[in-house]
Symmetry: C3
Amino acid sequence: MREDHIMNTDSFAAIFGIIEQIRRRHPLVHCLTNNVVKNFTANTLLALDAAPAMIEDPQEAFEFAALADALLINVGTLTESFMTTARSAVSSAVAAGKPWVLDPVAVGVVEKRTLFARELLEKKPTLIRGNASEVIALSGRSGKGRGVDSGDTAASALNAAKLLAQSYESTVLITGEVDYITDGKQVATCRNGHRLMTRVTGVGCVQGALAAACAAVALDPFSAAVATALIMAVSGELAAEQSKLPGSYQIALLDALSTVDLPTLSKMAKIELL
Amino acid sequence: MREDHIMNTDSFAAIFGIIEQIRRRHPLVHCLTNNVVKNFTANTLLALDAAPAMIEDPQEAFEFAALADALLINVGTLTESFMTTARSAVSSAVAAGKPWVLDPVAVGVVEKRTLFARELLEKKPTLIRGNASEVIALSGRSGKGRGVDSGDTAASALNAAKLLAQSYESTVLITGEVDYITDGKQVATCRNGHRLMTRVTGVGCVQGALAAACAAVALDPFSAAVATALIMAVSGELAAEQSKLPGSYQIALLDALSTVDLPTLSKMAKIELL
Amino acid sequence: MREDHIMNTDSFAAIFGIIEQIRRRHPLVHCLTNNVVKNFTANTLLALDAAPAMIEDPQEAFEFAALADALLINVGTLTESFMTTARSAVSSAVAAGKPWVLDPVAVGVVEKRTLFARELLEKKPTLIRGNASEVIALSGRSGKGRGVDSGDTAASALNAAKLLAQSYESTVLITGEVDYITDGKQVATCRNGHRLMTRVTGVGCVQGALAAACAAVALDPFSAAVATALIMAVSGELAAEQSKLPGSYQIALLDALSTVDLPTLSKMAKIELL
């Protein structure tokens, strides 16, 4: 029932335009993310002309989350002190009406983070970004996760994602060979991307930061999530034109993120409303 | 009153020579820095032929700060445990007579680090490296900081820097489009640099580590601070000859830091005594 | 007495084949490593087609170490909470019969980690990877370490390594200009490598992660340790064909790790049984 969807040709133009909004408005993204990807995350945001900030003390994070334009919570290297800071920052962001993104890295693989991510769900994340196994595990079904890899396909996680979106008034981006985006009503796919994106650590994680930047400037979370998928996947294709080896590919990806623009996205986009 | 200044043509030669001193003496720099830039900081020091070490336990840091040639304290991802370690390392470095650098990242933006950085001031840092907003906030005036960006110009922070330098017997390097250096009496500017330096995370932070390396080998802190500004800014210009995109620019910057030498600095320097 | 050695031409073929085993079996390596090298470590494992995971909470680490194929403990940025997590992960890996690697970074330089690394020795690490000073200090003799640099030669540490290997049923890889490998009976050397490897932070540390990946797939720890030395050193030579400057050399090293294969290793190997 295409006419039921909010998304249409105008929506597509709005999605393509989000990259320009980021470059114009420099959203300040408060990143509480894992210890493996902090540098790459900050450089990704800078490449997009957004402004990264990692403020990690619970008191400071409470103060800062209200000042920032969006918040990212990535549980990849969860510890007790991380949990304290994340709770503090989320409550502050929610109180201040700021969008926030939950990235449930390796949820379903180990127990503490699984429980913690579900606790955070109750605070209704604006966006959720995970692979298929993580999204399935977050929803309470059992997945096939192994570390940060996904043993499930994004398509197989779509029902779990819809359930999450409906239950928590959230929008879910499932990343994989094909990305799926749903707000519980609408479903979109993005078929851009390149296999080398899985050979660089943290491409998924930095996409969570990109999602926060998109959410800070977009008109609605669904458009933000589609733009997140598209900007990263198209940049991944552009990077593959520069290098086919993982070390130089990571550098090429940052370079591509700094140049990708509305005309390029419009031309290369393989997004679809289901 | 040029004749009142300690700095003269001989001083310039001494400043240009600091890079050679670093390459010859491999100063061991104990870096207590933020979680975003640790890798970049270590690689910057290695590119300069200095030796990085990140020793983060309070007991170990106390022991190590006395062995190292200089200490860096960067409060970017301050936590309670970071504060404990920093206090421990600073007291040890001071007791051992080793130079130490304070980098007050985002001071003025959130409260805990502002108070902590002011506490550390009492231990009289050899050098302070910050952007204009940070220097103004550290001095107790109100600035326009927003995350790690500076809403103030370096020139506007010069009076705050002089006050800090005089009150705490320190030398202050304010980095920005033009860098200002003052020890409370002398003032120098460095007009080298490239706008791409702001598109890579942590260029300011790693400059704090460079400052520590310079302080370890220089005859006086003022010369060390001018050399810090100059070495980074000239390397930033050299890197821009290799790449204009932020991913590959970061790599080119490390490459440039590994090749920059006395003749290049002498030729390209845009430094001036005010 | 060549005939006394387990290693022979067949062994060499087995060692060269370990790289193919990694690429085929994607061993999942649980890395508890220092804050400077986490990103580089993860990217190194991905370049090799292994799977990295950094799970840092003590409870989670206990759960995860039993699921992973191998564990790395690198004490570079040791803290009390790191020690708790490391103890937890090691006990779990040992109980599950998984190989684990101890990297005693800067042991001998500061006291707490020296005691802690010796405590971990009692759990009999499958492999130990260190420079000469670290291996000497770990064995209880006094070395000449200064930060992460080694003031001793690998050859001088060989007796300490044999002692360690015999006392703790371990295999020791001493990295340096020439690498030495011993399981207390056999001794091998690897003369590959390039001086630029010392100009990039963490090349030794990521080699610990590579050692864990090799141990996960190799038939015996001695072969795993020789393969670890060889894969890194040959990749280091290949990288030097691409770049002679440290920033781009690090990227070239990741690229080389992603392409190095059995024929290349066979052709370039300078390994020898003593």
